[in-house]
């Protein structure tokens, strides 16, 4: 089972990297891009039978290590079909 974890800074936290990327895009002429938030992306291969169990483990490791709850939030997506392609 594959879990995808997206970690981003909380909306209330200033993101100097995202702001710099947005400014660069404006310089390049992409005025329509109003805001950029930079984050991290993880793919976890989890050897369990159910999507619920994979979701539980992915959330636990996100809480404990992948994200710092003081400044970051995360989103977990489970790809149940990943196992069928292996």
């Amino acid at each position: 089972m594959r879990a995808r974890v997206f970690v981003t800074l909380k909306p209330s936290v200033f993101d100097p990297q995202g702001t710099t990327v947005a400014e660069a895009l404006h310089t390049m002429g992409y005025e329509a891009v109003k805001d950029v938030r930079q984050g991290k992306y993880f793919e976890l291969e989890i050897d369990v039978a159910s999507a619920d169990e994979a979701r539980r483990i992915a959330a636990a490791v996100s809480d404990r290590l992948l994200a710092n709850p003081v400044i970051e939030s995360y989103r977990v997506e489970i790809d149940e079909h990943a196992i069928e392609r292996t």
């Binding site: 936290v13 100097p16 990297q17 710099t20 992948l66 710092n68 003081v70 400044i71």
Partner: protein
């Protein structure tokens, strides 16, 4: 008295801390590898600067799981003095031994320069030899020293007098001009509620000899020698 200097893979100010403790202050000092589970009977623990575990994921995020951290936590819970310098401060934040987190510097640059700090509290083991409001000139060298915590956490830190050091101008004013990295409330260093665990981004161990530009860091390191020698902040054995 004895200093324990913790060495993580990627620590690079461990020798500076050891040198300051042993050769400048004339105290005993010992390196403690991050896989060790004992602090060897030390009176004070220093988590040095550097890039522990490559700073992978986040600064200090992996170091907090190093085996030695359990011993550091036990030592701190017993009241022993713990100093986190730069990356060591980031490790203390990730370990939850101090509140808050570090963001990338507002400038997005690795800031490497001498800055001015104002001593806000003198009732910690690392500031008891300082004068209240004393301004120290000490170097910083970090990319992620932009302190952040939720507003209610910052309010509690200020109310409990846990902000130990603040970035200031040369004349001791905590203004945006004196803030090198965007830290909330110009916070450069904090203590825990027990006041025995202190973290700061500037490097006092790099400011202990005139030959390298400043001796203002001595006030911080001499404080802990005084605190331990006089029996204040000794760990409960």
């Amino acid at each position: 008295m004895k200093f324990a200097v913790v060495v993580f893979p990627g620590s690079n100010c461990d020798h500076d801390a050891y040198h300051a403790a042993k050769h400048v202050l004339g105290q005993e000092a010992e390196f403690v590898w991050h896989k060790d589970t004992s602090l060897g009977g030390a009176d004070v623990v220093v988590l040095p600067g550097g890039f522990a575990h490559g700073d992978y994921l986040r600064t200090g995020a992996v170091a907090r799981f190093s085996p030695v951290m359990q011993a550091v936590r036990t030592f701190a819970n017993a009241g022993g003095p713990v100093l986190g310098i730069c990356n060591g401060f980031q490790v203390l934040l990730e370990a939850g031994m101090l509140p808050g987190a570090m963001l990338r510097n507002r400038s997005l640059k690795f800031q490497c320069e001498h800055v001015f700090l104002r001593v806000e509290q003198t009732d910690t083991p690392f500031t008891i030899a300082c004068r209240p409001g004393q301004v120290l000139r000490i170097p910083i060298a970090h990319g992620e020293g932009n302190y952040y915590a939720e507003p209610e956490v910052v309010e509690r830190l200020e109310k409990n007098r846990q902000v130990v050091f603040r970035y200031t101008t040369a004349t001791g004013e905590a203004t945006p001009a004196g803030n090198p990295n965007g830290s909330l409330n110009n916070i450069a260093g904090l203590c825990n509620e027990g006041r025995n665990v202190v973290g700061l981004m500037p490097h006092p161990e790099r400011a202990c000899e005139l030959a390298i530009g400043s001796v203002d860091g001595l006030a911080i390191l001499e404080s802990v020698v005084k605190a331990v020698t006089e029996g204040a902040f000794a760990p409960v054995k």
